[in-house]
Amino acid sequence: MNLFGFALGNLYRRPARSSLTIAAISLGVASIVALTSIAWGFEASWQRANDARGTDLIVTRLASENAMPSPFLADKLQATLKGYPHVQEVVGLLSEMLSVGDNAPPVFVFGWEYRSYLWQHLRLIDGHLPANDTDADIVLGSLAAELLHKKVGDSVEIEGRQFLIRGIFDSPAVVENGAVVMTLTLAQQITDKPGKVNILNIKLDDHASDSVIDDFKTRVRETLPGYLAITSGELVRKNAVVRISKAMSNATTLIASLVGALVVFNTMLMSINERTREIGLLLALGWQRQTIVKLIVSESVVLSLAGGLAGILIGIAIAGGLEHVELMRGKIEAVFSMPFLIAILGLSVVLGVAGGLYPALKAARMLPSQALRQE
């Protein structure tokens, strides 16, 4: 038996208390894992949609911080931007969350300029892209098709208008997979925003370097008051939904960590109080105070690490479950990276040390003779 074996034995001695502590920590860690993975998933998913589209820069209204920037009239601005150096295409995009059909949850509806480069990254699984700008034809992401129980040739009603599903596609980004895509003209008609777009997507030619992008941004800032040119990554980080979800995940992390540390603290404090005589004995046997600290902190770290491991599994399960809830399907996507999971385990260790340190120091400071006298 070594120090660690002794620590494990001490935890095993109170199976109910140890399990309850582990359960409490695991719930806290699970909520951190689920919310954080989804918050990151939001960002990653929107970023991937923009990357897949091949968009280099996005021009929006300056003040926009909504989930989607607020719409503006695009005509004149579009013509101006087309004149900038290295610009290949300037494409309007309108997007809205709309109910499709009667009982289905709302989905993203994207309006993309007909025949623009935006359509090129979609991989059609079935059917075709819309044949012209004005026929009431749409394509569905594969997830949206599944959610709405629709196939090519079916029709759906959006904002009181019947649309024919011409094709079903797959996209690298879950937000697009869960969306309905139509031409910009149709989207402007059904949302009653003629001539308006949320953002202009700029595609530069292959020779455009970072300095071209910087020059473009500067020129927009200096010559087009009220507008802003940013990269898709910057847009995503400015996105209110991304920001709110990140703030929520940060707040959850903070609260759950505090609660976790308090749970460990409480458990270890109870534990050393009922083991006072035993700690006095160990001190009398010549245990160094630092060995006592190591013992108690080992016990608390084992508890928190076990809770952390269980919490990761539960958190992954919760995030997976949320992804499949009808309302969320195709809008969220949890992202788990190895560094993230390692950081969570690191956090668990920190919780264990933070919660166990005071009880450990308290135990180590006991006077052996007093502790041995304790009933």
Partner: protein
């Protein structure tokens, strides 16, 4: 080996006096019994000798080293003292073997060697087939022998025993005393034992009587 000079020990800001100016010595290899009425300060004296309690005034020397100069009392205890208590103080969740090994945690050297030594000691004390038993399944005499093995595992110079037979019947007392005599013969360890039991004090080289935190003059006798 141990020299106690004018030691006083007060508790509760001086309201309680446990030791009231005691001077005494313990020679190398000596077996000293301390007797006296309840509350006279016997345990306190033992604790002071064992560095479990710091004297309020006075000084104690171990082989000429003053206690006030000891930097690490834990280390000092581990190197020089073995403790035995009336209530055994075994850890209920550990086997006999682990109750002995626990005293070596944090000691230098491989754990396997410590475990090996603990086995040998338990076997020497007649507990070969009790090694994996837990305290609750052992008799009082067996438990106290486990505690003696624990006190011996780090090769102490001095055993400090506080009423070691106080919880034992006469048969177990006989066993434990036998074991203690054997250890003395084999190892030449010094022993200071606090006891009410004439069986125990009868085996000591010297018996010291205490009263009211002091040694009773003229009542000390050698055997």
């Amino acid at each position: 080996m141990v020299r106690i000079e004018n030691v006083a020990l007060h508790f509760d800001d001086g309201k309680t006096t446990a030791l009231n100016g005691i001077s005494a010595t313990v020679e190398e290899g000596e077996f000293v019994a301390i007797v006296g009425p309840s509350g006279c300060g016997k345990s306190s004296l033992l604790n002071v000798i064992g560095t479990l309690e710091r004297p309020t005034t006075g000084e104690v020397y171990f082989r000429c080293q003053p206690y006030s100069n000891i930097a690490d009392a834990s280390l000092f205890r581990r190197q020089h003292f073995g403790f035995i208590f009336q209530s055994f103080h075994l850890i209920p969740t550990l086997s006999a073997l682990d109750n002995v090994v626990v005293a070596t945690i944090g000691c230098p050297g491989p754990a396997r060697e410590h475990t090996q030594r603990a086995r040998q000691l338990l076997a020497q004390l007649g507990l070969r087939d009790r090694i994996d038993h837990f305290p609750r399944t052992m008799s009082g005499g067996e438990r106290q022998r486990v505690a003696i093995a624990r006190a011996l595992i780090n090769n102490p110079d001095l055993i400090l025993a506080d009423e070691p037979t106080g919880s034992l019947d006469s048969v177990s007392t006989e066993q434990v005393l036998g074991v203690i005599s054997e250890i003395r013969q084999q190892r030449g360890i010094s022993i200071v034992v606090v006891t009410h039991d004439p069986e125990v004090s009868g085996r000591a080289d010297r018996v010291v009587s205490m009263r009211d935190g002091k040694i009773e003059p003229g009542k000390e006798y050698r055997q």
